[in-house]
């Protein structure tokens, strides 16, 4: 299944997840999934509930594993869920790899964000601590051609271009 996100219901789902409102996140997520078909209602429900229920996390992480190897998977969405599910290493792996369908390659000639002092209580890397290197970091290698098509919206909708790399996860 392909992850896709750029519309208010999905953003509200993510915002509720970040703020710990799992009921709200599930409601927005189910609405978004039903409307777009980008994932099933059952899938987004599993991901949402797994954030608050460790017993569901293996299934949720397995779902993300499947999506990670599917064409078109969006690396920052995958990383977002992995952080929320406590899989920080998996999130870093996804972020380090990027995917052609992810909208951009994080390790190719992107600007470097100035360092920030904030830190996440759960140990996750906040946005400001993720340095976007101009070339692959030591131990990493590029796995695909960096050429990526940039989707355009009618009238211009660059939401996909400005979507935060990995929002800070709240306490």
């Amino acid at each position: 299944m392909i992850l896709a996100s750029s519309s208010p219901p999905f953003f509200l789902h993510r915002l509720d997840l970040m703020e710990g409102d799992l009921a709200g996140a599930e409601e927005w997520g189910r609405r978004w999934a039903a409307r777009t078909g980008s994932m099933t209602v059952e899938e987004i429900t599993l991901l949402t509930r797994a954030v608050g229920d460790e017993a569901l996390r293996p299934d949720a992480l397995g779902l993300l594993d499947d999506w990670e190897v599917a064409p078109g998977a969006r690396w920052h969405d995958l990383a977002f869920y992995r952080v929320l599910l406590g899989d920080n290493e998996g999130a870093i792996r996804v972020l380090s790899r990027g995917t052609p369908g992810g909208g951009e390659d994080p390790l190719r000639r992107a600007p470097v964000r100035p360092p920030r002092e904030s830190a996440c209580s759960n140990g996750a890397l906040p946005v400001g601590r993720i340095r976007v290197a101009a070339r692959p970091a030591a131990g990493l290698r590029m796995t695909h051609d960096p050429a990526v098509a940039v989707p355009l919206q009618d009238g211009g909708a660059p939401a996909h271009m400005i979507e935060p790399l990995l929002p800070v996860v709240g306490p």
Binding site: I2, A4, S5, S6, S7, P8, P9, F10, F11, L12, L15, M18, E19, W32, R35, T36, S38, P71, G72, R74, P100, G101, G102, G103, E104, D105, R108, R109, A110, P111, R113, P114, P146, A147, V148, A149, V150, P151, L152, Q153, D154, G155, G156, A157, P158, A159, H160, M161, I162, E163, P164, P167, V168
Partner: protein, 105 residues
């Protein structure tokens, strides 16, 4: 794709010089500013774009993201709820096949 940020900056400024009333120019310049870690400037540009085109749902959607980047979570929520209030069915559809980098939903 090569990331020629400086060249993009010049082109955006030229576009705005040619037509400072073009909402899309402000909107896309905001995306560039956000990508180059100038969130305050991105917010100002997005607000200017919305001022020029107050009915644009895509710009209001972007405003939510800009607020999110600025850690203004309540403002982000308000922007997205406002977009949905204006059009409960508002969805940005995928325009490209996933195999070449689609984005939508």
């Amino acid at each position: 794709m090569d990331w020629r940020w400086d060249e993009a900056e010049r082109e955006f400024l030229r576009a705005l010089e040619l037509n400072p009333e073009l909402p899309t120019a402000h909107q896309w310049y905001a995306a560039h500013q956000a990508k180059t870690f100038r969130p305050d400037e991105a917010r100002a540009s997005t607000l200017r774009a919305l001022e020029l085109d107050p009915l644009s749902l895509v710009i209001r959607n972007d405003l939510g993201l800009i607020h999110l980047i600025n850690r203004d979570f309540p403002e982000a929520r308000e922007a997205w709820l406002r977009a949905l209030a204006d059009d409960p069915g508002f969805i940005i559809p995928p325009l490209l096949p996933p195999s070449i980098g689609s984005d939508g939903g």
